[in-house]
């Protein structure tokens, strides 16, 4: 009975659509991803100006179960226009199975794209020489959090090299305090903080990024002397007495989100529990409420110190990447916009935003919080110098990167330096 109404409605839309002719006014483009909460609001806000300008309605829907949902959607053929994956590995996986459209078919200027986002980052979304993944946001892990006021009050200076950092740590221990905060418990992912340390050290020893890439692709074995050297340096931090607040027990038992809390708590003499905490940029979200506003001023970062002075400065980080499922005109327009330097403009100015553009041409002065500006500059510089590297454990096969590597780092923390060889051999043997 409602048929006539429906038909007339359909006709009307057809006529209206025909009148629109050529322009993409009113076209809808759907994106799904793992960003939820305030990140989701930010991502949606990024398209406001774009929609006002082109009339293309971009609707983003985030889900904390995104990775499973997109698998089902791909297999049933009911995909959105874009999916934004938290890891490039998933883009490669989807492209290998033939679900994604190459960026070339979307009319993207590939040279420009590689120039803007660095060939390394672009290379993470490549299958058989064809570029499928669009780089988007990045985060930075090669940073050490500290409080400048505490350093100044005691005459400590920010260490630029590993040796300086060790000297500073010894000085702090001699002054009767603990230099490092270190906690790597994380439900179901315990140990990842130590793998991050390993990666940062690997980037700065041996042949730098070259040996790092070989390590990731298993062109050098996991128990190679270079890796062993990195593990030895890490063990120096974990197992030297009084280096870590609470001792070795605390490393294994402390939830990573609480690990920095001792830095904010002063004892009767006004000394903080620790002075340095190496952790990624997103840790600010785990700080006590009152401390979050001080990110970038009261509590700020220095770059992870260099170890081998002959190697160029490197940066470790993570990032997400999108893939497109079709080459409609509206999809092309959105893809082009997402790869432009302006894409993050509306995101950066938001309060509480923790996402950083991976575009090297992005105007970092737009970031609302001072810490994001520092981090954004570091990322852009590292990308331009082609010394930005992606979290190795995310790139290794999951049996290693999310399995034995994490586990053996936990065991290493418990067992002490004598366990290094066993740990590395075990990881090597678990490589599929």
């Amino acid at each position: 009975m409602k048929k006539p109404l429906l038909v007339s409605f359909l006709l009307l839309t057809l006529i209206l659509g025909a009148c629109g002719g050529g322009s993409l006014e009113g076209e809808e483009v759907t994106i799904t991803g793992a960003l939820i909460g305030s990140d989701q609001d930010g991502f949606r806000a990024a398209f406001e100006d774009f929609t006002a300008e082109t009339g293309i309605i971009v609707s983003y829907q985030g889900s904390d179960n995104f990775e499973q949902e997109i698998q089902i959607q791909m297999e049933s053929g009911d995909t959105p226009d874009f999916a934004l994956w938290p890891q490039p590995g998933a883009v490669v996986d989807a492209a290998t199975r033939g679900y994604l459209t190459p960026l070339e078919d979307l009319g993207i200027d590939l040279d420009q794209y590689q120039n803007d986002f660095s060939s390394y980052l672009v290379g993470l979304g490549v299958v058989d020489g064809v570029i499928y993944g669009g780089a988007n946001a990045a985060n930075l892990k090669s940073i050490v959090w500290y409080q400048p006021a505490e350093f100044d009050a005691r005459g400590y200076s920010v260490p630029a090299t590993w040796d300086e950092m060790i000297a500073l740590a010894d000085q702090i221990v001699a002054d009767g305090m603990n230099p490092f905060c270190f906690g790597m418990y994380s439900n179901g992912a315990s140990g990842w903080l130590a793998t991050d340390w390993m990666e940062d050290i690997m980037l700065r020893t041996g042949d730098g990024v070259d040996s790092y890439d070989k390590w990731v692709s298993h062109d050098i074995p996991f128990n190679d002397p270079m890796v062993k050297n990195a593990a030895t340096l890490l063990s120096q931090i974990m197992h030297t007495e009084n280096y870590v607040v609470g001792g070795t027990d605390a490393i294994v038992s402390t939830y990573f989100g609480n690990a920095q809390d001792p830095m904010f708590s002063k004892d009767a003499n006004g000394n903080p529990g620790c002075f340095m905490h190496r952790q990624a940029s997103f840790i600010t979200g785990f700080w006590p409420e009152g401390e979050q506003a001080g990110a970038g001023s009261i509590t700020t970062v220095f770059p992870f110190p260099s170890i081998d002075p002959s190697l160029p400065a490197a940066a470790l980080g993570g990032g997400d990447m999108w893939g497109a499922f079709n080459d409609r005109d509206a999809t092309k327009a959105v893809a082009e916009f997402m790869l432009s330097a302006e894409f993050y403009n509306n995101v950066a100015i938001r309060d509480g935003n923790a996402r950083l553009s991976a575009h090297t041409g992005f105007d970092t002065s737009l970031y609302a919080s001072p810490i994001n500006k520092i981090l954004g500059d570091t990322i852009a510089a590292a990308l331009s110098a082609n010394s930005f590297r992606f979290d190795a454990s995310d790139l290794m096969p999951p049996e290693v990167g999310a399995g034995s590597f994490w586990k053996e780092m936990m065991n290493l923390a418990v067992e002490g330096p004598g366990y290094i060889d066993t740990a590395l051999d075990t990881v090597e043997n678990s490589w599929p």
């Binding site: 990775e67 905060c181 179901g188 992912a189 402390t254 809390d261 399995g403 936990m410």
Partner: protein
């Protein structure tokens, strides 16, 4: 006469095909097409309401239609056809959602990580050789033994004692039963706060560590968490006990009393290697289910005729003797039922581990391992293998229950 039966038989077969095959198929297709069209037209919220109304109407129509068709068949066969009509849909549902997935899981467990190629018994070899998998199986066995026996034992004692109470029995039992009303996720969250650990200079918010770091030990005085001369003393006194990350301890080596134990001795090495975190996680489940067991046992004990109890007492049997020789045999079947329920619950135990440790530091159980292999390591073959293992463990219980059921109906 015989000819007619033959004809009747044919007719019955035709009608049963119509009623149980063709008609439901048409019914299903019609409904599927209708809903596909509806989703295009109306909004999601409205669709839910529609689905409820249309769905239930359709179920009525299905049975009404099948009944109408069956009515056409010869009288003698009608009854068996009616029976099939009622059993049919549920059998169909069970085979679609239970048998089919079970068989397919078994099939996948012989294939590789993406279910492409057959790998024979590779996955099963892995299940019994991979060190992590062995730890998981060890934990599952520890859980089965300790959780089931402790729940039964404590439940029996509490049920028996509460029966002895003169007053306040109902109040006491409702208190003991309360944890059962809390979800496993909630219970795990509560216990996570009890076991919580913070690095030493911080205030311990977990109750066990809170007590640990602020009590005196023999011989030394602990100054933590005290106000001395109007100044609050923090948590930096080295004379106090150190906090312990309870859920991160795989053995007892961090506890002070094990220092004096000889690690080479047989018994003491077992003691030192007790997986503390696994035991503490078992406490959660024991805490949750003891009340349930107690209440069920108490009901069973109440059903014992008082003459038998009195006879025992007159014969001079001690309390313990009455418990052992009268109560236990009398409620044996209740104990078996609760025990069966607990075994199945432990084999399915998922939420406690998932919420508290997510299987880290050797606390994993099979159900969580199954999910890990599926989503973390993306190895469908191994995940299916773990699922099959769980199923194989449950199988004897299903068979046992079925056998007992048969005995009961026969006797």
């Amino acid at each position: 006469m015989k000819q007619q039966t033959q004809q009747e038989k044919l007719k019955t077969i035709g009608i049963s095909f119509l009623a149980l095959g063709f008609f439901p198929l048409i019914w299903f297709l019609f409904q599927a097409i209708l809903f596909r069209e509806l989703t295009e037209i109306i909004s999601r919220n409205l669709l839910v309401v529609f689905a409820l109304i249309i769905g239930s109407t359709f179920v009525f129509l299905l049975f009404w239609g099948m009944d109408k068709i069956i009515k056409l068949s010869p009288k003698d066969n009608r009854e068996s056809l009616e029976a099939r009509m009622f059993a049919g849909p549920s059998l169909f549902m069970i085979s679609l959602f239970l048998f089919y997935p079970a068989i397919r899981t078994l099939y996948i467990s012989f294939k590789d990580r993406y279910s492409n190629d057959f790998v024979g018994f590779e996955n099963y070899k892995w299940a019994f050789s991979d060190p992590e998998m062995l730890v998981t199986i060890r934990n599952q066995i520890i859980w089965l033994i300790f959780v089931v026996s402790l729940v039964l034992f404590i439940g029996l004692v509490v049920g028996w004692l509460s029966d002895r109470l003169n007053k306040g029995e109902a109040f006491f039992k409702s208190i003991v039963f309360m944890p059962m009303a809390i979800s496993a996720v909630g219970a795990s969250a509560i216990f996570k706060f009890i076991y919580e650990y913070r690095p030493p200079p911080l205030t311990q918010i977990g109750i066990i560590n809170g007590i640990r770091v602020s009590v005196d030990r023999l011989g030394t005085q602990c100054m933590n968490n005290r106000i001395i001369d109007g100044v609050f003393n923090g948590f930096g006194d080295p004379n106090c006990l150190k906090p312990i990350g309870w859920l991160q301890q795989r053995d007892l080596t961090n506890l002070p009393f094990t220092e004096n134990l000889n690690p080479d001795g047989f018994l003491s090495s077992i003691l030192i290697n007790l997986p503390v975190n696994t035991m503490l996680l078992m406490v959660i489940m024991i805490w949750m289910f003891t009340g349930f067991a107690a209440v069920v046992f108490s009901a069973g004990i109440k059903a014992i005729p008082s003459e038998i109890m009195e006879a025992g007492q007159i014969d001079g049997a001690s309390e313990l003797r009455v418990f052992r020789s009268i109560v236990i045999p009398y409620i044996k079947s209740t104990i078996i039922v609760v025990g069966t329920y607990m075994v199945v619950t432990v084999l399915k135990a998922f939420d406690i581990i998932y919420v508290s440790t997510r299987g880290d530091l050797e606390t994993n159980l099979l159900a969580v391992k199954m999910l890990d292999e599926f989503s973390k390591y993306r190895n469908f073959g191994r995940s299916a293998t773990v699922a099959v293992l769980i199923f194989v463990c449950v199988l004897p219980i299903i068979v046992g229950t079925a056998l007992r059921e048969r005995e009961n109906t026969q006797s």
